[in-house]
């Protein structure tokens, strides 16, 4: 049973890429094949949020996103948000508030928060609710919410 590969055109962080992928490959694995390792794998079943990315501005768990079905979509990953020398205000707020420890959940928290801010969040309770799909085993939660609230201008 030969595994066939198909060509898929994606736009990742503003760059158009064409990649030969397994038809059942998940977007998360394709991102890794592209050398973008900032999007993390924590559970591979949509239960932890570590793999959160934005597709046309909406947050998705990329471990459950069939890559082939995102042909033509604009994907944003953590690599497209800011660089160490030019941090996004939310990234700056994460560092100021010490909203991270091991840092493994952090890209997912940030992508999810960016999506949430775009969806509109009015108070800390909404932030807590809206980010509850992003697990942090180090327990940085209160400081993540503080950072997101600051970036959201609350």
């Amino acid at each position: 049973m030969p595994i066939e590969r198909i060509a898929v055109g994606l736009t990742v962080n503003g760059c158009a890429v064409e990649q030969w992928i397994d038809p059942c490959a998940m977007l998360l694995d394709v991102l890794h094949e592209l050398g973008l390792s900032g999007t993390k794998k924590g559970c591979e079943m949509g239960a932890c949020g570590a793999c959160t990315a934005l597709a046309d501005g909406r947050r998705i768990v990329s471990c459950l996103a069939l890559a082939a079905s995102y042909a033509g979509a604009a994907i944003t990953t953590i690599e497209g948000v800011g660089t160490p020398d030019e941090l996004h205000p939310l990234q700056e707020a994460f560092i100021d508030h010490d909203a991270l420890q091991c840092g493994y959940c952090t890209p997912g928290q940030i992508m999810s928060a960016l999506g949430l801010i775009a969806e509109g969040c009015c108070d800390r309770a909404t932030i807590r609710e809206g980010l509850s799909g992003n697990l942090c085993r180090c327990g940085a939660y209160p400081r993540i919410v503080a950072a997101v609230a600051e970036a959201a201008g609350l």
């Binding site: 932030i127 697990l135 400081r143």
Partner: protein
């Protein structure tokens, strides 16, 4: 500088996704590996047929017991050398293929034949085989002082109960991973580990190689909490074996489901505890018997009853740990090992006693304060527990504590509870190298690793402080066995271990510069250019602690407010106020993060986390992060953390460990608050809705007492 709320120095790399975790190196030609897992509970592997697997497109190799037989026998190699199944899901082989999908497909096609044997899938199925291990963690398993049996008979009040805690799994967000490749006779191993040096030693021993031919790298570690250690080694070694034979780099990453069985767990406990008091509330006797699970291939026992030996002043104490071997996964330390389940029992019992004696729970603990370690009969290096009670009680507003089960806030019944926490302060051998670069910047190197606790930042702070340079001038390198040997990340001891070594290295560097003629008012940057244009470096080395005449421990007091829904019995922690005394605080910002994270882990253990085993097959039920509940954003209370700075002149730099403290004590503080809210005493963890649903008394609305600051 030390004591400064310095931001995490690797923060910018982590928030931009640029920090490279072990599984993210992608060498050319890399294969992916998958594990073949046993379908039986207990027995022998008598045949492995991989002919179907070999037909999988992309298949490259399969390794199993025969391929590991040449490895040196040890606990790290036993499970991959001996074809014996001890628990369901135990790996019996590993496949390697061009893609992960192909490796998994091939693994599913490997046919394994077994001869099954009768199994024990729960501790109550083999109670008559319980035995007392010599050691519980690093302490003797049994202890005895005075005559507790007689003292209990004559006590004014005896509280005697059984307390139970569930199996928990660590679940760091980063799954265990290894990417390894051979360069001739040398091997490079990128792996998620709490001990790069420990891992190097295991590989060198197993493969009979010189340690210098093994390089282990873990620059960033996505959490560990105790599970990124020895139980991962067998599967990592199989990957190395396959890499050697295929001549290709190989990557093995565990699935979340495998992290329930292959990398350790917090053992369940059944604790029989009796505490006796005189009429004034002074402890006269403690008997603490612990029964816990271990596997059929390894022995591990948490130090669960240790708190009963030394937390309070008590003349008559007997403790005992016993284990039952079952065909379940092997337990290992998990954040706050021993103190988490142990304080749950002891601090719940004290709350029960306080109520029955009519003494305030804080006052009862103050009356039983141990002014020295009664178990070893030695002084504390420092103990600021009384101050912790006072500060935390004031900030919480404890003085306004209302009578039990009287306060209602809307649909919520409100309760307050408190408990004590503690953890031993240890140190390990450590070497640190400090290099002054030609441009005047500093590079610090240590072969420990940063689990997320802030090791990069505090090491930079120590060195910047000692050399009088800004933190921005200091770069830290960790997580590589090419660096000087550093400690494993566990037992809250890395910071304390690094401090004396870093200080020695900076002192040596200064001495060298002085010898070369550095001027008194010269800056390091000017001096290095003038007298050592190629740069200059120095090393420091410190030994483990061998405290015999003194006991070193961190202490804390934790106060909680919970709400219990009057109709649905949903339990919510509303606020947590805690005071922790951990010697000298090097970085309050990062220290608070550690405490909050620790407390959140404890909230998980108290209200959510439970690994459930099928009682006939020993299989884990719900081995995923949807069924194994952990705390999420929406569960968070308000935290108020007080750091009590101590001047401990005995410890080098006055530094004690931080990471474990919040994960103990909180369990009883919550259980005691639930009792205060509802009148129901729950003596097992986790405490869930079903424990309170049937017992809620009728509500009479009352006012919430006003809180002080």
């Amino acid at each position: 500088m030390s004591g400064e709320r310095a931001r995490r120095i690797e923060g910018a790399l982590k928030v931009t996704g640029r920090a490279e975790y072990a599984g993210e190196v992608r060498p050319d030609g890399m294969l992916h590996a998958a594990l073949v897992q046993a379908e039986i509970t207990c027995g022998d592997v008598v045949g492995i047929d991989d002919s179907a697997a070999r037909h999988t497109p992309g298949f490259v190799d399969q390794v199993s017991y025969d391929d590991a037989r040449s490895l040196a026998p040890s606990t790290a190699t036993a499970l991959i050398r001996e074809p014996v199944v001890h628990f369901p899901g135990q790996p019996v082989g590993l496949t390697a293929a061009d893609t992960l999908l192909a490796a998994r497909t091939a693994a599913a096609r490997v046919r394994v034949d077994y001869v099954e044997r009768p199994s024990v899938a729960a501790i109550d199925q083999a109670l008559d085989e319980a035995y007392a291990p010599a050691m519980a963690g690093r302490i003797i398993g049994a202890s005895h002082r005075g005559d507790p049996a007689v003292a209990l008979t004559g006590a004014h009040l005896v509280v005697r109960n059984r307390y139970q805690t569930a199996v928990n799994n660590h679940h760091p967000m980063e799954p265990h991973v290894v990417v390894c490749w051979w360069e001739g006779e040398q091997v490079v191993v990128h792996t998620s580990t709490q001990a790069v040096y420990g891992t190097r030693a295991i590989i060198a021993h197993a493969l009979a190689m010189p340690a210098d031919d093994v390089r282990v790298v873990c620059r960033y570690l996505g959490g560990g909490f105790g599970c990124k250690g020895q139980l991962w080694w067998p599967w990592m070694l199989w990957t190395l074996t396959a890499s050697k034979r295929t001549g290709r780099p190989i990557r093995l990453e565990l699935t979340r489901a495998q992290m329930f069985t292959l990398v350790g767990r917090r053992q369940e406990t059944v604790q029989d505890l009796a505490v006796g008091f005189d009429a004034t509330g002074r402890l006269v006797a403690i008997e603490h018997d612990v029964l816990a699970q271990t596997s059929t291939h390894g022995e591990y026992c948490d130090t669960t009853a240790e708190v009963s030996r030394r937390l309070y002043a008590c003349p008559n104490v007997r403790t005992l740990h016993r284990l039952v071997r079952t065909n379940e996964p092997q337990p290992i330390p998990m954040r706050a090992p021993g103190t988490a389940p142990g304080t749950f029992a002891l601090e719940s019992a004290l709350d029960e006693a306080a109520e029955q004696l009519g003494i305030d729970p804080v006052e009862l603990r103050v009356r039983n304060f141990a002014d020295h370690d009664h178990d070893a009969d030695v002084p504390w290096s420092s103990n600021s527990l009384l101050q912790c009670y006072q500060v935390a009680a004031d900030r919480f507003g404890w003085a306004q504590r209302p009578a039990s089960a009287t306060v209602v806030d809307g649909r919520w019944r409100i309760g307050w509870g408190m408990a004590t926490t503690c953890y031993p302060a240890h140190r390990q051998p450590c070497r640190v190298r400090v290099r002054l670069q030609p441009d005047g910047t500093i590079v610090v190197q240590c072969g420990t690793q940063d689990m997320g606790s802030g090791t990069y930042t505090v090491l930079a702070q120590m060195v910047a402080d000692a050399l009088g340079v800004p933190l921005s001038q200091v770069t830290v390198e960790l997580g590589d066995t090419l660096l000087p040997e550093g400690p494993f990340s566990g037992g809250s001891q890395v910071t304390a271990s690094m401090f004396p070594a870093a200080r020695q290295a900076t002192d040596a560097l200064r001495a060298q510069l002085a010898e070369l003629g550095m001027g008194h008012d010269e800056t390091l940057a000017d001096a290095v250019q003038r007298i050592a244009p190629d740069g200059i470096e120095a090393e420091g080395a410190a030994t483990a602690n061998a405290d015999i005449d003194v006991r070193c421990m961190s202490f804390g007091a934790i106060f909680t407010e919970v709400g219990v829904d009057a109709d649905l019995a949903e339990i919510r922690v509303r606020r947590v106020t805690a005071a922790f005394a951990t010697g000298r605080v090097l970085n309050p910002l990062l220290t608070e993060s550690q405490h909050i994270g620790g407390l959140i882990g404890g909230i998980g253990m108290t209200l959510l986390e439970q690994t459930v085993t099928d009682r006939s097959s020993g299989r884990i039920i719900g081995d995923n992060l949807a069924d194994y509940l952990v705390p999420v954003h929406a569960d968070m209370p308000e935290f108020d953390i007080a750091l009590i700075d101590e001047d401990d002149t005995y410890l080098p730099g006055g530094v004690k460990g931080v990471g474990m403290l919040g994960t103990a004590g909180i369990q009883a503080a919550i259980a005691n608050a639930i009792h205060h809210a509802t009148g129901t005493r729950v003596r097992h963890l986790p405490i869930r809705i079903e424990d309170l649903l049937h017992e809620l008394p009728a509500t009479t609305p009352g006012a919430l007492p006003s809180m002080s600051e």
